[in-house]
Structure formats: structure tokens, C-alpha cells
Symmetry: C2
């Protein structure tokens, strides 16, 4: 691992984005949200995607400076067509609007169509949690998850994030794909020549596979096979629950905004991702004194941390705790990236900024 | 299986409830919602619980005629203390209020503490779906689910239901426990002397067990062990996601209402279940023309049904479809109950009404 100063990494990404044509706000949002993912240890959604963003912007697939079209708006709802805008910045500004409407009217929900990748769903959910609200973030993604009893993919990894504030500035943040794993984990196993564990994916027959190389090829050529929904294959371990949750995400993101859903979500290098998002903010104060709520919430998190660990396990975490601890460390010790990614970032830097990325000692 | 005329079974339950002291509305709601579960094929939450309700009412654990206390109310929120009321009827009337507030103001959410069992969460979610709304129902339950990396139970089976209307009167209805399975499935295996499948439960070490008898005993004496969260043990198949969802249910039901959460949810034969519920209704019209939405929703359900089934599988269902088909059948062919349950119901009938329950030929 190479460690990079967090502010330095953010500045680097910001300058790359500025140089290839993003506005100051777009560049700032995009840099911050990508680096935030790495800082939390969610490397799959961080600066490893910088090259893809650079390519998307240079090819005009992600469009700088476009304004979203407001399709419908009420005091508590906000429906947008993103018109292929930068997903990260569009999502941050949309969540700002959702929060300010929720401050005034108690709740607000937004459904956004035709956007691009927005990074980690939890980032947006946590924005609301810092205002004494329950925050929600979701997105649909290109189809690679296979519904229960089927053999072809229909849904994306369709993540759901829910963030809730607790005492002492803590935030509970569940940020989960509704498939068992994301595609990235399959690719890592393929590169390393390892079998994937049973319970991750099905092949073209619709039944479990351990062969990541064949799976990736079958998915590429649309022969069938793909990721299992949370809960796995069939009904034995309740895979229909993950399948149902993935459906809910498509409903909230795409059906409510009139955007592409299911297999129509196309994510190629030549078109905008055309993904759809959903954002929500719900004031605690609608239900209860927020301070009393956060005190109880803190007690719950403490109780979870105090549970007896399973044999051979060190600690019981609550959702988001590992990520927040990693983020704390990143301010002191830098953001970890692999040697390979570091070289790739330096390549982007040399090409676009005429300089490498500085690493910590 | 014994088949019983659906109206006849509902009347039977209603008369039992009336005779032991429930009001007309309470008896009507309770009978309808219990029979609805059996009609859908969710026998665990249906009339098999009649004896428990009878006992609860006769012992004063479930209280007839109590009014809930309104703890906080705004145009879009409604927070109640159920004061140990009949959970089924309290939940139905609360959802009615939620729907009528949502009709006027776009959305409404309700959190209810100190209630009793409310049957199937999907029943309430579907009430809203029949009004062109997205409906939500949740409840916490007595702790029997073990968080990731822990060895003691902390959460209940904590179900989440989401119902969404589609074209041709169809309703998508996801109604799922956030544990892999519910306790009932463990008990059936114990009674039949069968091992439980790997991936359902952990023992007192916090690791997988196949022994349902030992598990039930360990849970009874609070030695540790319990149900795995959706996604199973540890992180390999993403059990932290089911754990996170269970936490969200406790937050929405108990933390928002100031009720008991985690291990404080006590469900004995001598106290009210003290469970907490959450209900929500969100108008489609806030986002989009409801007819256009339902047409797209119908297209999605059709596409899911048209997916190529996995080898050896007959059909791909959407969430709720199996249950709705079973319900259709129940009107024509009666509600199925086991011979054993039929005898038990006749016993209750003889004791309370002086008559047996009629069965179809």
C-alpha cells in the first residue's frame, strides 16, 4: 500500500477534473466524494475510478455544466432528469436541496433519472444525518444481478444506504449492495486465478458457479449468469429477499423518475450510465425530541459494541463503524491506495497536469 | 390439509374474539388479518396464533378497548403509545390514519410503541398500495437474531414490508424478515427430528449450527446462539447487510417512538409483547402521474415473469405474486390448514362458542 495525504489527493483529483473542463463546484464535489470512498476503505468506489471519469468527461459521456430538468416539484418532493450530468456533483447538490426542503417541511424525497455514477450511496445519506435527519440514498446500476429462479441478470447491484445520527457525533450508516457481492470482487478473483466462494454467483443454468473467468465472459456476451441477490440462490437462504430489495431500489430510483430500469440500464463506455438515484431526508423532530432519540441511538450502538464476540472474532461493529474508523485514520496516516493504482494515478497526473502524485513517506 | 371456507373461517375467528371480549371492530380486524395470512400461505402468522391471542386477551396481556396515546402529531407524522392494545386492530386503524394524512399532505409516517403482534407486515403496506401510494410496514420482535461477529441475539426477526401498485390491479409486495429464516422454521425441524441447513443459525460460540433442538434450548436459557441475519454468518455472504437492515427496523419502530429496542423487547406469556411498529405511505403523485408509473411498474413485473427460468425451475415470480395467487385460490377452494391446526381450532370453538369449525368437503 501507498499512503497519500488526504488533502493532497483531493487537490490532485480536483485539478485533474478542472483541467479537463469541469466547473469548480463539479470538480470539488467529484474529488471529495471519490477520496471519501477511499478514506473509508471502499476502494472500489474511489479514485480507482478516476480514469473512467476522465475518459467519460473527455468523450462527452459525462457532461459538465448541464442543468438538470425539474420534472415535478412539491414542497416535499423533487424529481429531476439529470441530462447526463456528473453524477457525483448532481447528487450532492440534489441532496442539499432535499435537506433544505426537509428542514422546512419535515421530509423530502427526490428521484433522479439519467445521471452518471454517484460514488458511494452512504455519502449522501450521511449528509442528512448531520442535520438531525434520517438520510437515504439509492441508485440503480447496470443489470448484473439474477432474480430468484431466473438465469439472466435483470437488476444492478442496486445499493441502499440509510444513515441515522447518534450521540457523540456518531452516525449509523448502512450502505449495502442488494446483491451478495459486487462485480469487483468477482473480477479480483478472476485476476488472481482463484475460485469464487459458493453463494456469490450463478452460471448460465441459473445455478451456483465457482468459476469467475467463465462467469465474466458469459455476462459479457449476455449468455446468462450473474450475481446472486443477497440471500443467495433459490429460497433456502432467502435469496428472494435480496431480489425484492433490488426491485424496491429500481422502483424508487427509476420507476418514480420515469427513467430506465431493469435491463434497460446500459452502462457502456460510449453512453452516459443513464442510472437513476433516490434521495430522502426525514426529520427526527417529526417523531421525537432529537436529543432523546440520539441518546437512545447511542445506547443501542454501545450495546451492540458490547455484545460478546463470536469465538475467534475480536469485535462487534455497527454499520458504518469500520468505515468511520478508517476515515479517522486517513486524516492522520493518509489514504491507502495500491502500488498499481498509485502508478495509474501518476500516469493520469503526468498526462493531464504534467506532474506525479506525491506520496507520504 | 383441511380446507375451510374463507368467510366461514373469518366469521369463526370473529365470534371467538367477540365472545372473549373484543369490540366489534377489534374482532373484525383481528379475524380478517389472521385469515388473510393463511389465505396467502403464510401459515406461521395466521390462525395458528389464535390460541395465543385468546390466551393473551383472557389473561389481560392484550387489552381490548384501550385508546392509544398520541405522543406527537404533525400533518405528516403520527407517533403513538399503543398501551398494550390488540396489535392487529391498532395497526389497521393507524394505517388508515396514515393513508388519510398522506392523501392530504403527500406522505405520512407513524411509529408506534408498546403494541402487540400485528400479524403480517405486508397487510398494512398493501392497504396504502391500493390508494396509489407506496406502503411501508415494519415491526420489531423479541430478540433472537445474532448480529455479525456476535454470539448473543440482539434483534428480532424484524420484518420489512414494501408494497407498490402496478397496472391491472397487481401489487408488488415484499414482506421479509431480516433474519435468514424465522424461529418457526427452526421449530418445525426440531419437531421432525431433522437437522437445520447450514446458514440459518449460530450456536453459543457464534458459529454455524445444524442442531435445532440444542439451539432452541440454548436460546431459551439465554446461553447464546440464535438466528443468522439475512446474508448469513460473518462477512463472506454479507450477513452484515441483514444485520444492518434489522437495526434500521429497530430504529424506525422503537427508537422513533421511544419504545423498547434490542434485548429489551420482551415477549412472554405474562406481559404484552411491547413490540413497536412503523407505518408509511408515500403518494406516487408526488413524483409522477400514477397511471404512467403503474404502467411502467406493470411492464417491470411482466419482464420479471418472462425471464428464462433456471434449469429445473418453472417460473420467475415477483415479490408477493405467489402469495396473491394463493389468496385467489383461497376464495374458490378455501383456506388450507393442517389437520392438527384444524383440531386445535375446533377445540377453541367448542370451548368458547360451543361448536366446531366447519370444513369444506
Amino acid at each position: 500500500m501507498v499512503y497519500i495525504d488526504r488533502n493532497g489527493l483531493t487537490d490532485f483529483c480536483r485539478q485533474v477534473f478542472r483541467t479537463i473542463g469541469l466547473s469548480e463546484i463539479e470538480a470539488d464535489d467529484s474529488a471529495k466524494i471519490l477520496v471519501d470512498a477511499d478514506a473509508r476503505g471502499i476502494a472500489s468506489h474511489g479514485v480507482s475510478r478516476l480514469q473512467r471519469y476522465v475518459y467519460g468527461i473527455q468523450e462527452g459521456v459525462m457532461v459538465s455544466g448541464v442543468k438538470p430538468t425539474v420534472l415535478r416539484e412539491t414542497p416535499i418532493s423533487y424529481v429531476l432528469d439529470g441530462n447526463g450530468a456528473m453524477g457525483l456533483s448532481l447528487s450532492r447538490t440534489t441532496m442539499d436541496t432535499v435537506i433544505s426542503k426537509a428542514k422546512e417541511h419535515g421530509v423530502c424525497f427526490s428521484s433522479v433519472r439519467n445521471s452518471n455514477h454517484f460514488g458511494i450511496a452512504g455519502f449522501y445519506a450521511e449528509m442528512a444525518a448531520r442535520h438531525d435527519m434520517i438520510g437515504i440514498g439509492m441508485t440503480n446500476t447496470a443489470a448484473m444481478g439474477v432474480p430468484t429462479f431466473a438465469r439472466d441478470p435483470y437488476f444492478g447491484t442496486n445499493p441502499i444506504a440509510v444513515a441515522v445520527p447518534a450521540s457523540n457525533g456518531r452516525i449509523f450508516c448502512l450502505d449495502m449492495a442488494t446483491t451478495v457481492v459486487t462485480r469487483g470482487k468477482i473480477e479480483i478473483h478472476a485476476r488472481e486465478g482463484k475460485d469464487i466462494p459458493s453463494g456469490w454467483a450463478v452460471d448460465t443454468t441459473g445455478h451456483g458457479t465457482n468459476d469467475p473467468v467463465r462467469l465474466i465472459e458469459d455476462m459479457l456476451y449476455l449468455r446468462g449468469g450473474g450475481l446472486m441477490p443477497l440471500g443467495g440462490e433459490g429460497e433456502m437462504l432467502s435469496g428472494y429477499k435480496g431480489y425484492g430489495l433490488a426491485t424496491v431500489v429500481d422502483i424508487m430510483t427509476a420507476l418514480l423518475s420515469g427513467g430506465p430500469f431493469g435491463r434497460d440500464v446500459m452502462d457502456s463506455e460510449n453512453t452516459s450510465a443513464r442510472v437513476c438515484h433516490f434521495f430522502g431526508a426525514i426529520q427526527l423532530d417529526l417523531f421525537r425530541d432529537p436529543e432523546a432519540f440520539k441518546a437512545d441511538m447511542g445506547r443501542m450502538l454501545d450495546e451492540l459494541n458490547a455484545l460478546r464476540p463470536a469465538e475467534g472474532c475480536e469485535r462487534v461493529y455497527y454499520a458504518g463503524q469500520k468505515e468511520h474508523e478508517a476515515e479517522e485514520r486517513s486524516w492522520k496516516c493518509g489514504v491507502p491506495v495500491t502500488e498499481k493504482l498509485y502508478d495509474e494515478l501518476c500516469g493520469i497526473g503526468l498526462q493531464i497536469l504534467g506532474r506525479k502524485l506525491e506520496r507520504l513517506q
